[in-house]
């Protein structure tokens, strides 16, 4: 029943970002993501502020290029979706060119470019956060930001039991393989469906047992985390504010 440690996202490289208060990181990354999401991409020269902010954070996080590229692969489904946009997003109806009789719309091309850039930047920010902040620190940061205790509890349980579930899933798969199961072929999906069902029921039952153990220790809806020591960083905080200000400027002034 021992849990494995290999799937944790935090990289212990002691970069400057690792030591920054988790609430600062959470808030700043949230602000930059918000700024990127709402940037209309009409004045592209101002967008370099967002791009350079993300690159700066990526550099000081000391994430290796290999790790970054590996984790960036989560981006792929969004990029694939973006490739459809030039064919379906008509906009003004102006056709840029035709591929095998299919019209490629100019608006769609711009939307594709914007989506890929925005998604890649946001995923990069998520990679930076998870690589420099442990799950405990994320929970701690959420608590410091006065996020609802109920939300924090749900989030912390989700994280806590990911390990347990992955281990259970591995055990189920091992037991299936030891009885001659092969994952290849569509007809072999049925046992996976049954195993998933069993996992769901187990998860529900475990949830009940955890709750029982919590109320037996007087649980009143609040998980208390202790204070931890971090450094403050005005630079990082200013980066978030600056990105937000740029987006506001683009939205309302230009």
């Amino acid at each position: 029943m021992e849990t494995s440690h290999h799937h944790h996202l935090e990289i212990h490289n002691f970069s400057k970002l690792n030591a920054v208060k988790p609430q600062t990181k959470l808030l700043v990354i949230f602000l930059i993501i918000l700024s990127i999401a709402f940037y209309k991409m009409e004045t592209l020269n101002l967008f370099f502020i967002h791009v350079s902010s993300v690159i700066y954070l990526l550099i000081i996080s000391k994430i290796t290029f290999k790790t970054y590229i590996k984790r960036l692969s989560i981006d792929i489904p969004f990029v694939l979706f973006a490739f459809f946009l030039p064919f379906i997003s008509k906009g003004s109806g102006k056709v840029a060119w035709e591929i095998m009789g299919l019209a490629v719309y100019e608006t769609g091309l711009i939307e594709m470019r914007n989506l890929i850039i925005k998604i890649t930047l946001c995923v990069t920010l998520a990679i930076i956060l998870t690589a420099t902040t442990s799950t405990v620190e994320i929970i701690y940061g959420m608590q410091k930001l006065k996020i609802s205790p109920l939300l924090i509890s749900i989030f912390s349980f989700a994280i806590r039991y990911i390990d347990v579930f992955i281990d259970e899933l591995k055990r189920v798969k091992t037991s299936m393989k030891s009885r001659g199961y092969s994952e290849k072929g569509l007809k072999n999906l049925k046992p996976i469906a049954f195993a998933s069902g069993a996992m769901l029921i187990r998860g529900y039952e475990r949830g009940e047992r955890v709750y029982n153990s919590m109320i037996s220790r007087g649980f009143n809806g609040y998980l208390e985390l202790h204070d931890r020591e971090y450094i403050s960083s005005n630079t990082i905080f200013l980066i978030g504010i600056f990105c937000l200000a740029t987006t506001i400027f683009e939205q309302f002034v230009i």
Partner: protein, 247 residues
């Protein structure tokens, strides 16, 4: 006080109609140690959950040190009765060992400093002081079990109830656990299939089968009663001999 814990005519039926407990009555003296033995599905865990008021309204009466188990008293009862669950993964959920062990005391109204002192004392008792900043789910099974026990001891319970505490433990961890339990100067209820452990920790035991108490006697008398052991699907481990205790 011979009836420190008193259970009278306790019955319980699950929503699917399965009768898990059938008219259970027993008394336990203060600082007494009682083993609950029996085959799988006998109702042992159901009985334990009742001792913490977890299964809702009682069909029967339970009292601890004269305090009846009622909705008004339930918080005090939960503070007085510490429940150590069978699977420590069900019990440990906070990010660090120290925070997990402090969870109970903080909920039961101890100040932060008091709760920290209680947690550190409990962790020292189970020899886990070196692990206070570790994540509980990264510990070995034996270490998790010790932390689970500390998490209950930290609330200073008067009665500690353990569900299969020696299951999945290696022999050395099992030995350490037995030694820890023997040093606890509080009332203990031990549900176990580990009969030698019951013999070592509990002076008295009962056998529960099909929701009914079949016998309450000294643990030694029960383990040497071949007929009752066989009837209740119990047997001593191969090679384990009781005769050396007869002197």
């Amino acid at each position: 006080m011979n009836n420190y814990l008193s259970i009278k005519n306790l019955s319980f039926e699950y929503p699917d109609g399965f009768k898990a407990l059938d008219n259970i009555s027993l008394n336990l003296a203060e600082k007494g140690r009682l083993g609950i033995l029996g085959p799988n599905g006998a109702g042992k865990t159901t009985l334990l959950l009742h001792l913490n008021g977890i299964l809702g309204k009682l069909n029967g009466d339970i009292s601890l040190a004269g305090t009846p188990f009622t909705d008004e008293n339930i918080k005090n009862i939960r503070k007085s009765v510490g429940l150590v669950f069978q699977d420590p993964d069900d019990q440990l959920f906070m990010p660090t060992v120290l925070e997990d062990v402090m969870f109970g005391p903080r909920n039961f109204g101890f100040s932060f400093d008091e709760a920290k002192d209680l947690a550190l004392t409990a962790l020292e008792k189970v020899k886990m002081l070196d692990f206070i900043n570790k994540a509980p789910h990264h510990l070995s099974f034996g270490q998790k079990r010790k932390v689970a026990i500390a998490s209950v001891l930290a609330s200073k319970p008067d009665l500690i109830v353990l569900d299969e505490p020696s299951s999945n433990l290696d022999p050395a961890s099992r030995r350490e656990l037995i030694e820890i339990l023997k040093t606890l100067n509080i009332t203990i209820i031990l549900v176990t299939h580990d009969l030698p452990m019951a013999l070592e920790v509990c002076e008295n035991s009962l056998i529960l089968n099909n929701g009914k108490i079949k016998i309450i006697d000294s643990t030694y008398n029960i383990l040497t009663n071949e007929k009752i052991m066989k009837e209740n699907r119990l047997e001593l481990p191969f090679g384990f001999a009781l005769h050396h205790l007869e002197d």
